[in-house]
Amino acid sequence: MRIVVCIKQVIDPEVPPSEFRIDPQKKEAVQGRANLVISTFDECALEVALQVKDKVPETTVTALTFGPKSAEEALRKALAMRADEAVRVDTDRTGRMDPAGVAQVLASTIQKIGGADVVLFGREGADFDSAQVGQMTAEALEMPLITLATEMEAVDKGIRARRHGDDGWSVVEAPTPVALTITNAPVNVPRIPKVKDVMQAHRKPITTMTLDELGIDPAILSEAAPVEMEELFIPEVNNQVTIIEGETPEEKAEKLAQAILALKVL
């Protein structure tokens, strides 16, 4: 079984809020002292793929990213976790890219590298959280899609996945080829790579492709995209404290109710 896991490199979402900055001109987040990491849910997706490989060693896992040169480190991490191959489609863009355009890039790349039995995505990027790339890529590849899965195993002619539904769990099966978006769960906490594999990952090749080779016009990623980002800003939070005075609890409750009504937030 050939599994392709699409991973994105993002600024570490664990960066303390006090250190998070954006560049309003470029409309993107500033890296500052934060590390670049594999987007949280994408790393869970990698773990899900590698667990299939642990059980069925013939499985191959390819990590695929669309990103700048720095994103090679995300691929190296994937190789250190023991993905078999790594592919990067090059771009010099670091800010937001339109999900529909990204989906087109990923779908074309997957076709170009010979297709896949299973394509995995994180359920959403840990930066803009738009949760669209998985769905749109599956559509472009004409694959059925299972969303919000947490585990997967290979079964006869396909896969079985456990997914997180609105009112509980469901276990679904699908023939391959199939695409899944993965959400985090205790079963797919990403493994810590072995030190030897970390060292070896830096000696493995990474296949690099360009949009040109894929015949894709970079304009679809922003200028010609259906959605344009007008403004990017950190919302200002104003904390105000009003102490409600009163003789009795009833009186305080009454005043509190009045105050809430006056704010017109209900």
Partner: protein
């Protein structure tokens, strides 16, 4: 120093491991002085025991700089774990550098996997700084050596399964150091003649065992004489201690860094006289000195490690790094305690542990007085008039 992508990725791996697996349990293990078997198993899986062993023998083959950086990282969470790796790493280094090809093939892969976890048996009740005065003897009998004697303060000697032992093979040698040989002793609870007299109770450095041993007609196969030739043990072990000193310096920087980071955070949260204590100049002076000294210590150990990696003699640099870093650690951990006030003296905070761990680095792997004599001897040679 600009870290390479490889070093960054490796340290990131060790950091995630430390945060996920060690941090949540360190307080309990420390308080109970319990050997962290579960963590050691995970360190094995991660491949930490093979860090400085060449890939052809199953290790990761990192250089001295990277190895030391890993020690700093682990020590910033729990220095005792660096102790479990420390003398194991020295034994691996000595074997790799001086062992016969047969010894390397037989022993290093097992050391790399952590199946054979080693230690270093030099010190004796009457031979610490003056290790040349050691009394343990190894007498050849047929295809084996028979060891007799006592060893003191031997870390990893109970829960580990191997020990690099320095013993006297020729009492009549021209110089005492030429009469010593190093042996790989493999042991378990049943090994006849390998007797753990008692675990030594310590101020800090909890969790990892340090024991008093005696050897009573302990049989060691002749194949386990390091390098296959008698008389080279002292020089072999001293070369290993050079790496050991660099790593002790890195440990000291790790502990001091943890103490500093907790202090600088605490100083911004704790208020006195209407403002965070970090606004009082007295506290700022402490913070500035702590960070300056800890950064200087890091430069020293990296410099020594780089020299070693270039194949240059590095005993002067390793000695200076060990001396400066360990004294710095003693001072910085005390200052971190000052900044925490009374809370720093309680076991509710980590600084008291850092403070208790610091003196070991001043005493272990050659006391700082001995470091100074080594440094001075070199300087007098270098600047001879």
């Amino acid at each position: 120093m600009q870290l390479t992508a490889e070093q960054t990725a490796l340290l990131e791996t060790v950091r995630s491991f430390a945060q996920r697996e060690i941090k949540p349990i360190v307080h309990t293990y420390e308080a109970e002085d319990r050997y962290p078997s579960e963590i050691v198993e995970k360190m094995q899986e991660l491949g930490l025991f093979g860090l400085n062993i060449a890939p052809e023998y199953g290790g990761a083959g990192v250089d001295t700089v990277t190895y030391a950086l890993v020690f700093e990282e682990l020590s910033a969470v729990w220095m005792s774990l660096a102790g479990i790796l420390g003398t194991h790493g020295i034994m691996a280094y000595v074997l790799q550098r001086f062992g016969t090809e047969e010894q390397k093939r037989r022993l290093l892969p097992r050391m790399a996997s952590g199946e054979l976890r080693g230690g270093l048996g030099l010190t004796e009740p009457d031979a610490g700084s003056d290790v040349q005065n050691l009394k343990t003897t190894a007498v050849r009998q047929g295809d084996r050596y028979v060891l007799n004697g006592q060893k003191m303060f031997i870390t990893n000697s109970r829960y580990g399964s191997g020990l690099l032992v320095l013993a006297r093979t020729n009492p009549l040698a021209d110089k005492p150091s030429h009469g010593m040989s190093a042996f790989i002793v493999e042991h378990d609870e049943q090994t006849p003649g390998y007797i753990v007299r008692r675990p030594i109770h310590k101020l800090g450095y909890k969790g990892v065992e340090t024991c008093e041993l005696s050897f009573e007609d302990l049989q060691v196969p002749q194949e386990n004489l390091v390098g296959g030739e008698e008389g080279h043990g002292f020089a072999q072990v001293m070369s290993g201690l050079e790496v050991g000193r660099i790593n002790v310096a890195a440990r000291a920087v790790g502990v001091a860094r943890a103490a500093f980071e907790e202090a600088v955070r605490y100083a911004q949260q704790r208020q006195t006289f209407g403002q965070p204590i970090a606004q009082h100049q007295a506290i700022q002076l402490l913070l500035a000195d702590m960070y300056t000294q800890l950064s200087a210590a890091r430069h020293l150990y990296i410099d020594a490690a780089e020299k070693k990696d270039r194949g240059q003699r590095a005993d002067l640099e390793a000695g200076m790094a060990k001396l400066f870093a360990s004294e710095m650690c003693g001072k910085v951990t005390l200052d971190a305690m000052r900044i925490h006030g009374g809370y720093g003296y309680t076991t509710d905070f980590n600084v008291e542990r850092y403070y208790r761990d610091a003196p070991l680095m001043i005493i272990g792997e050659g006391t700082n007085e001995i470091q100074r004599t080594v440094i001075a001897r070199q300087l007098l040679q270098r600047y001879r008039v």
